[in-house]
Amino acid sequence: MIFKLRPSLCFSALALAVLGVFALFETWITPYDPLAVEFLPLDPPGWKNPFGTDNLGRDVFSRFVAGARISFVVGLTSVFFAALLGILAGLTAAYFKKVQAVFMRVMDAIWAFPMLLLAMALAASLQPGIVTVIIAIALVYSPLFARLVYAQALSLLEREFILAAQAFGCKPARLLFTHVLPNLAAPVIVQATLTVGTAIVLESSLSFLGVGIQPPTPSWGVMIQTGYKWLEQAAWMSILPGMGIYVTVVSFSVLGDWLRIILDPKQLTRKV
């Protein structure tokens, strides 16, 4: 199974590495200033601008590279906070039976809203911008982690080593964070990897709808939104960022599936 995944895994790792380098070293890689209007507008791909220019005469490739940074920053931080929130809620609900109903029903209620709609309403409620987008995505995805952590923690709390720790007088916080949490690391990491891709799609959807990252900041969603208006004249404006999102999402999901197998061999046999 691991062997069979190799070609797609290699491709995904390579794609993420390239986009990751773009995100990290954005200023060194962009051939031109992503915000500067310095070329003919709607110029098709050529030697000077390998992916053409946009409606204002900005270099599409430079904006794409700058957009990679935004996508990665939003994807990774929002999933980090979603996981943090979910872990706290899930662990608390699993250990303290009294708050269980409240915590999990709130999580259910958040989960009942279609993600995009809730994120849209949240993003519109606060000042539009990158921080708002991160907060909205983190909130929307937190139930995913809360449910996972809750279910796993419930069964862990029944295990002998936990009972033993309790018998030794281990305090709840120490019990949860040093005994329960490490045993949850694998599924949480897998879920987080799988979620980064969808978080990036959500960010681009919000930006596309105009309630996410605001132009002229070159997020991939913003680039596609602008490109949409010029679809007939300059399809290159939106194809590159669209493919960027597509490749990133596929790569994160391949990586997540691979991590699932690596980190939890039990799951492999159970699932098949």
């Binding site: 109903a101 029903r105 709130v106 259910d108 209620a109 958040i110 009942a112 809203f113 279609p114 993600m115 995009l116 709609l117 809730l118 849209m120 309403a121 949240l122 519109a124 409620s125 606060l126 000042q127 891709g197 799609v201 681009s204 959807s205 596309f208 709808l209 105009g210 309630v211 596609i224 490109g227 949409y228 679809l231 007939e232 399809a235 939106s238 669209g242 999102i245 597509y246 999402v249 596929v250 999901s253």
Partner: protein
């Protein structure tokens, strides 16, 4: 069984209560003063703003506002749109048929693609058919719906000129033109769910095809087609039904973006405009109704699952 349904119903009620709290709070923190949206930001006197705030009930404490809103909901009064001054319910009633048509066509498309592809992939595992299916499924999940919609517009509307790129024609005006205009939106909307159903059907089909009763049917000399459709598919479809129920929420979420991309005048566009124009009664009602619908569909999916698969009831 009854205990399971009662427990799920009770949980759903609590969830719905929290849903109303979230919908209400969301709109309370919307930026800008909604009363200014009514009277216009410029040239409004203090008295006018005060009168409008009183009319909208914005001068009362938040808890009272919440309970007033809740009791109005129960009597079917969802308020008046700030922007258009039309009853929110009227706005939704006008647009609901359009959205339902899009949803139905989206689901139809996903089933039409996913069921044959899922069966073929399971019958010929690890061949080019299966690989094509997997690649399509991965693409369907990974491709943002608005980007897929744009690519479809580019190819089928702008390059080939086969289908309209956007807009909506009422079926009473011309059913053919209505359906033609709905094809691309339905494909974009259904793609994600099609991909997920395809994967699910492939794996449940593979599982079922190894069961003894399928072998028995074959040994009895039942035609292969009958074995696959009548014996295997029927059982393999059980998890698909549940998956579909659970994914309808995601489809409804996708409605907003698809309606914006293709300029379809449905509920999604209404909500998008409500966000842009700070029209909180419309947004509040929309978010609430959608969440209610999703919660109920999930409840039905859960219950249907427990009917179809008795093992679930006791967990």
């Amino acid at each position: 069984m009854r205990a399971f349904i009662i427990r799920r119903l009770f949980q759903t009620l609590i969830t719905l209560f929290v849903v109303t709290l979230i919908s209400f709070t969301l709109c309370m923190v919307l930026p800008g003063d909604p009363s200014l949206a009514v009277v216009g930001a410029e040239g409004a006197s203090e008295e006018m703003i005060k009168a409008v705030r009183q009319e909208l009930g914005l001068d009362q404490p938040i808890v009272i506002q919440y309970f007033k809103w809740l009791s109005a909901l129960f009597s079917g009064d969802f308020g008046i749109s700030i922007r258009t001054r039309v009853h929110v319910m009227t706005l939704f009633a006008q647009r609901l048929p359009v959205t339902l048509e899009l949803l139905a066509l989206g689901i139809l498309f996903s089933l039409l693609v996913a069921i044959p592809m899922g069966i073929l992939s399971a019958l010929r595992p690890n061949t080019w058919v299966d690989t094509t299916g997997t690649v399509l499924a991965v693409s369907g999940v990974a491709m943002p719906q608005f980007f897929l919609g744009m690519l479809l517009i580019l190819v089928f509307a702008l390059w080939l000129g086969w289908l309209p790129s956007s807009g909506y024609v009422s079926p009473s005006e011309s059913l053919v033109r209505n359906l033609l205009a709905m094809i691309l939106p339905a494909i974009s909307l259904g793609s994600v769910v099609a991909a997920e159903i395809m994967r699910q059907l492939r794996s449940s089909m593979l599982e079922v095809l190894n069961e003894e009763y399928v072998q028995t049917a074959r040994a009895k000399g039942v035609a292969e087609f009958t074995v696959i459709i009548k014996h295997a598919l029927r059982n393999a479809l059980i998890p698909v039904v549940t998956l579909l129920g659970m994914r309808i929420g995601r489809l409804i979420g996708g409605i907003v973006i698809i309606e914006v991309v293709f300029s379809v005048p449905g509920i999604g566009r209404l909500l998008m405009n409500a966000v842009l124009f700070n029209d909180f009664p419309v947004l509040q009602t929309g978010v609430l109704l959608v969440a209610f619908a999703v919660t109920f569909i999930n409840l039905l999916a859960d219950i249907s699952y427990s009917f179809l698969d008795p093992r679930i009831r006791h967990t």
